[in-house]
Amino acid sequence: MARIAGARDRAAFGLLFDHFAPRLKAFLLRQGTTASTAEELVQEALLTVWRRAESFDPAQATVSTWIFTIARNKRIDWLRRERRPELDPHDPMLVPETTSAEHALGASEEAALVRQAMLSLPVEQAEMIRMAYFEDKVHTTIAAETGLPLGTVKSRLRLALQRLGKLLQEV
């Protein structure tokens, strides 16, 4: 990433493409995007990665997380023609952290913790989280598709989020 931002290194960008393009495509396909649209969105997302490479902050996110957020926004732009209200990290109104906790852990340590938490979730809770990311589904849809009662879906997702949230207290 540093080589792409600093030296505008095309070979490094090529490697990033080789790694992330097929994964982004797979992610978008699982979200129900058609293959041709997925290809188009991957192109748009990675073009943004190239253009905004210098704004990537390794303290804030891993490369994978950063690319996830860019692709998510491209998909929203494509699905809706509306402007999505978004947090502006340079907003003068931003209320700062009261402690130095914001970057107590680096993004990669944080990613490792998240990975650990995902692995430690009971299978059925992890599945709820996956459905939330891959399929944009609300409770009622998940309930209908899994055949689980709505209350069960709600409590599983709630438990999964609580568990992840608890982990974040340590971040």
Partner: protein, 217 residues
Amino acid sequence: MVSLAQATPTTGDELLLAYATGALAEAPALVVATQLTLNPQRRRQLRAFEAVGGELLAEIDPVAMAAPAKAALLARLDEPAVDAPAPTPPATGLPAPLAALLPGGLEQLPWRRRLRGLKDWDLPALAGGKARLMWVAGKTAIPRHTHAGMELTLVLRGAYQDGAQTFAAGDLQLADAAVDHSPLVTALEPCLCLVVTDAPVRLTGRFGRLLNRFVRY
């Protein structure tokens, strides 16, 4: 002070999760984006939810791109970026996502006076809910009411009390038909809130959902 995050974590978490995955409609997304500006704890939580997305992306089984895709993208790297920079929002002293939707400062808004000590202003139409700014004078109670659908109330300035709970700047209260309440501004200072009603977590992926029906994982 009890913030909503401590009182009923699930619903606020689910809103933030939907924001992180991209499933949230415009009106509730405005509430979340505005709250993120005011609430660093929520920003940490968002970073973690986005990290979950990053992990899911990192571990997914790749699907090969069409053969010419890479060359096509490399050929586009020198294209000038066409992204128009977002216009600078008016100086309102409000978080940028919200300020971007205001025609000017708070003083110039065509407020509607509702009751003594209570006025509001409707934001431009947004998808997924009706948004308005609500201004309540100090030492004023809002008449008891309940809600037909979901109501999200984000405190921008000042604070209000609802039962035993206090909601201060950056706190979000979620209320539905089960909630029958009479919030009260106890301090002398007025309280300014962003209120979105009938804003369920809506899917963005209409087209995608249609396709999802035919695809099982």
